[in-house]
């Protein structure tokens, strides 16, 4: 058979038509799409089996329970640990992207002296020299840890001073420390049993206390219910997130919280709405009305609303003796639904705001919030995992980042129960970093190391045989056969929880109505986020949603 030119054309046309109706072009189009998604410059996740580890978040003293998903030794996802006795699965928004922080562009990777690269040896030599020349001051942002004991030991040995910075929630409890003798760190609010919570601008639904502790109670007892079991009254000038969701929002003039507290106390005492537990304020109701911008009748109505459902407790966003005195008048100190002391008392500690001016050197631990700047001429050695610039520190020393350091966690501020937990380092740092405690142990080998202190603390808890261990399965401490088994569980992310505090009399010696400094509370939980940076994903989402101002912008 002869194959003609016409046959060739017919065959070619048929082949072209056949190709069009065949899946080949569509398959090619599909494959092109797939190939073009796999360009070498497009990052791809590592493919490895997922391992879930229980640990705690060390980014702020609230130490929420974490479930970290690890692949090939790297954290690839964070979720709340539902077995944690206080945070119970809730986290602050930033924690969900905290595993990105170690690669933040502003990660501090080398020792810096006045902005120039230096070395650890030079830093050690400079600090040793300074410590030999005069008194030193060590500032800790997360007291009660084993690392804190190392810092305190060093300060004592060198006849230096150890000071702490408190989160605003603890600072709000400081007035009771003066009046009752119980340390502010050992006090807590019994919000689970409160019927009325009066917040003077405290961001109760926006990161105040331990995320998930109050917000869960609020969502179960108050949200969307016209006549809730828990009445949240928010008093502040602007409509914050907490005010938006409160049972009642009362706008008052800025910095007039103390006047309103005094006005409320006056009404409560004059109208005998409460038994007289405290002194009569000197401020008259008319003056309180003038200062707050609220009519006197509104203050009276508010006072009646507060005592209509008891127990009632007032919460200050920061240090405020007048709001604390209102709690004394309400009889909320030491009673159910008010302010309770946890069973274990702590030693009151001096705040870092009272800086010793004669110090030759100041060492600041990485846990101290970045915006804390000591006003001193001393040489400042600051440990930090991130460096956004803007610091008066002479030395910047790279500290371990997220999940890179072995640490333990004492009871978090405002936690209703006592807790203790251990978080081993889950990641190996990619650059040379040292914690302040490790740095000091390097200078003085006689100091007890953090790991040893953690072992002895675990042994102490085991010997006390109280409380329970909250892990995959909750178990009472006496049920453990040996300290090794008990400690093994703690190192795997279980949390020791003490018994809930019982109301006990806290004798208040408040003779006169106190003066309160005016305060401008922070809007939300970012005030207690001590880091100068936030996960890049958070910056992006806040920028695009307009939901919040990013930490970087706020710092600027």
């Amino acid at each position: 058979m002869k194959f003609t030119r016409r046959d060739l054309l017919i065959w070619s046309a048929g082949a072209a038509a056949g190709l069009v109706v065949s899946p080949v072009p569509w398959k090619l189009l599909d494959d092109t799409s797939i190939w073009s998604q796999n360009w070498p410059w497009i990052p791809q996740p590592v493919h490895a089996p997922i391992e879930v580890k229980q640990t705690l978040c060390a980014l702020c003293p609230k130490s929420c329970g974490l479930k970290v998903r690890m692949a090939a030794g790297w954290p690839v996802g964070i979720a709340g640990s539902s077995t944690h006795p206080v945070s119970a699965g809730a986290l602050c928004p930033l924690a969900f992207a905290a595993h990105q922080l170690n690669w933040h562009p502003q990660r501090l990777r080398v020792v810096k002296r006045k902005g120039n690269a230096s070395s650890w040896n030079e830093a050690r030599a400079a600090f040793s020299k300074a410590a030999g020349e005069g008194p030193i001051l060590i500032i800790d942002g997360f007291p009660g840890r084993s690392a804190s004991s190392v810092l305190e030991q060093f300060a004592q040995k060198k006849r230096g001073t150890y000071r702490v910075t408190f989160v605003p929630e603890t600072r709000a409890l400081v007035p009771y420390e003066t009046w009752t003798g119980a340390a502010a760190q050992a006090l807590t609010y019994d919000l689970q049993n409160a019927q009325t919570v009066v917040s003077f601008g405290a961001p109760l639904l926006d990161g105040w206390g331990i995320p998930g502790n109050f917000t869960r109670a609020w969502s179960e007892r108050a949200a969307g219910i016209a006549d809730p079991q828990l009445r949240l009254i928010q008093i502040e000038p602007s409509l914050s997130r907490t005010a938006a969701k409160a049972w009642q929002w009362l706008p008052i003039r800025a910095e007039s919280d103390a006047a309103l507290a005094a006005g409320l106390a006056r009404v409560l005492l004059e109208e005998r709405l409460v038994a007289a537990h405290g002194p009569m304020p000197t401020l008259s109701l008319a003056d309180a009305s003038y200062q707050t911008g609220l009519p006197a009748d509104s203050i009276r109505d508010l006072a009646r609303a507060i005592v209509a459902r008891t127990p009632a407790v007032a919460i200050a966003p920061d240090y405020s003796p007048a709001i604390a005195a209102l709690n004394v008048v309400l009889g909320a100190v030491g009673s159910r639904g008010g302010i309770l002391a946890r069973s274990k008392n702590a030693q009151p500690q001096a705040p870092a705001e009272q800086v010793i001016s004669s110090a030759r050197a100041v060492l600041i631990d990485a846990t101290v919030p970045w915006d804390f700047t000591p006003q001193t001429d001393a040489e400042i050695f600051r440990f930090a995992a991130w460096n956004p610039g803007q610091t008066n520190a002479d030395w910047l020393l790279p500290a371990p980042g997220f999940l890179e350091d072995l640490t333990d966690f004492p009871t978090a501020p405002t936690s209703p129960i006592e807790t203790y937990a251990v978080a081993p380092a889950l990641l190996k740092p990619t650059v040379e970093v040292h914690s302040a405690a490790e740095f000091l142990c390097g200078l003085d080998p006689e100091l007890t190391r953090v790991e040893k202190l953690i072992h002895s603390h675990c042994a102490e808890l085991f010997r006390a045989r109280t409380g329970s261990l909250c892990g995959q399965q909750a178990a009472l401490v006496p049920s453990f056969a040996s300290v090794q088994k008990f400690e093994e569980q703690l190192w795997q992310g279980a949390v020791w929880a003490g018994d809930p505090p019982k109301p006990k009399v806290l004798r208040c010696t408040l003779k006169e109505w106190p003066n309160s400094p005016p305060q401008t509370p922070a809007d939300d939980w970012l005030s207690s986020w001590g880091l100068p940076v936030q996960p890049p994903l958070a910056s992006k989402l806040y920028q695009e949603s307009g939901l919040r101002e990013s930490v970087e912008r706020r710092m600027a």
Binding site: D30, S33, S36, Q37, W39, W41, I42, P43, Q44, P45, V46, A48, I50, R69, A71, W74, P75, V76, G77, A79, G80, A90, L91, C92, P93, L94, F96, A97, H99, Q100, W103, H104, L205, T215, R216, W218, S219, A223, G224, I225, A226, R241, T242, A244, K245, W249, T430, P536, L537, A538, S539, K540, L541, Y542, Q543, E544, S545, G546, L547, R548
Partner: protein, 249 residues
């Protein structure tokens, strides 16, 4: 038996913390593009603030998480896609977006009544080393494709694998929890099978306080909202009486 996975979001419980938004982006390997703006960014789940537009003490505000509503009937994005890059999975009811098939025409973005779809304007990029923190269960998408919430489909696959390993055909719903649901500290976002009358989410979706956004369009979204506040419910069906000026560019 095919499921109809859906959500009920209790707006009275939502405090606008943004944990859901953050957990969603981290789970789905959304890149932290610093050059993105509110118009060009990627937010598969976006928490918006709404108010009753009153002033002073009478003003009230609420927060509303907006994501793909997984419309069931005449799904607008499915109907306009020329590439079959969007389809409703009959086994789950999830509206699936397949970036491999997407050619980036953005018809679906125009068609979506909820503005819940986003276009990838840039190649995904992370600061050096941060790619180690990517979720292995979710592929990174290239630029030039549209993306949206797919109810954490990777988690659904994991639940399927777990069920298969245990010799079961049906998944255990406890194994399939989307990231936003897991992250919500007030349990405002609830997830479940709307086809199962015994599922608490079915009951909540049928409660008198439940409503859907733009229900009058008849697309049968599978994301329900809940509120006792009348002004919040009223915003679900907005009506425009005046002229609205639209600025382009």
């Amino acid at each position: 038996m095919s499921a109809r996975y859906g959500m009920v979001i209790d707006l009275d419980r939502c405090t606008g913390c943004g944990s859901c938004m953050m957990a969603c982006a981290a789970e789905n390997n959304v890149p932290p593009l610093p050059q993105a703006t509110a118009r060009t960014g990627l937010t598969p789940l976006l928490v918006r603030k709404i108010s009753n537009k009153k002033e002073g003490a009478a003003r009230r505000e609420a927060f509303i998480p907006i994501m793909c509503m997984h419309c069931e009937h005449e799904t607008p994005c499915v109907r306009v896609c020329p590439q079959q890059a969007v389809e409703v999975d009959r086994a789950t009811g999830i509206v699936m977006q397949m970036p491999q098939r997407c050619l980036g025409c953005r018809y679906c973005m125009t068609a979506c009544p909820y503005h819940a779809r986003y276009f990838n304007w840039w190649d995904p990029a992370w600061p050096a080393g941060m790619e180690k923190s990517l979720n292995p269960g979710v592929a990174v998408r290239m630029r030039g494709v549209v993306e949206k919430c797919n109810l954490c489909h990777a988690r659904y696959h994991s639940a399927k694998e777990k069920a298969a390993a245990a010799g079961r055909r049906e998944i255990d719903l406890a194994d399939y929890v989307p990231a936003c649901v897991e992250a919500c500290p007030t349990s405002a976002i609830r997830f479940g099978n709307l086809a199962d009358k015994n599922d608490p989410v079915y009951r909540e979706a049928n409660s008198p306080d439940a409503f859907r956004l733009l229900a009058r369009l008849g697309t049968e979204p599978k994301v329900y909202f809940k509120s006792k506040e009348a002004w919040v419910k009223a915003l679900a069906e907005p009506t425009f009486t005046g002229k609205t000026e639209v600025k382009h560019g």
